[in-house]
Symmetry: C2
Subunit: 155 residues, 2 copies
């Protein structure tokens, strides 16, 4: 039973940046695997599931989705194609700017999105924590996901 290569733990309680990174990677691998299994249950790839998960009932412009998913806009075309082929989304041209198209979830799409969300919320890594611990985790992650660079105004 192989284990990830993890740097030695500090016995002094000092900052553990490297260790935190190792664990974060291990956690990401774990979530990727667990989430992928749930997505597969809905006949979706992980990215298709993530994209569907990001759709509000009103739909979202494809450009906006690319920004949220942090990928090039051209990728959304293909992902949208496949979600559309699966009958989970429709493309709707904006009435105010005919250049923009929104990916709008169909009724089936909304159902899958919600069912998938419920399943994901019960995944082991999250469920392994007590309510208090989940609360603590949420607080820490909020700080971590914050702005890339505070862009301090130092004139």
């Amino acid at each position: 039973m192989p284990e990830p290569r993890v740097l030695p733990t500090a016995a002094d309680g000092r900052p553990r940046g490297p260790e935190a990174v190792e664990l974060l990677f291990a956690l990401m691998d774990r979530m990727r695997e667990d989430f992928g299994a749930v997505a597969a249950d809905f006949d979706l790839t992980p990215q298709q599931a993530v994209t569907l998960h990001q759709l509000t009932d009103e739909g979202r412009p494809m450009r906006e989705l690319a920004a949220v998913l942090r990928c090039d806009a051209s990728n959304i075309t293909g992902i949208g194609d496949r979600l559309e082929a699966a009958g989970l989304v429709e493309r709707r041209t904006s009435s105010t700017d005919r250049r923009v198209k929104a990916l709008v979830p169909t009724e089936a799409g909304r159902r899958v999105r919600d069912d998938l969300g419920a399943r994901v919320a019960e995944l082991p890594p999250i469920a392994a924590l007590s309510p208090d611990e989940q609360q603590t985790l949420v607080g820490l992650m909020r700080k971590m996901v914050a702005p890339p660079q505070p862009r301090a105004a130092r004139p």
Copy 2:
């Protein structure tokens, strides 16, 4: 500036499984992007960087790497090929079982691996936390990454 779709926050302080999942996904996207940028600085793809990062100086059997990286063993062949072409690893056949080959980092590989590790440990998401917070995060993640299923012995 689009934002991820995040479920409403509880005002009652009760378990926030869904919210924790949303933030975890956002964090994963963020880390994927940041880590990818660092890997690119070393002319590596994210997976190549992760693989190199998992190598000890003695090298690791390819099968073991597949288990650690949670992917099919056949993928390691290609990743190993590319790392080898870049002069960062060598294949070494085991002296005790000639079926197994280990991916062993070259001197250049060890240098890149270490430099890359140092860069990653300083990524913004981690650096955004204080030493105490990092310590707390490590504790939480240890529980989360634990065994897939405790596999309780209930005869």
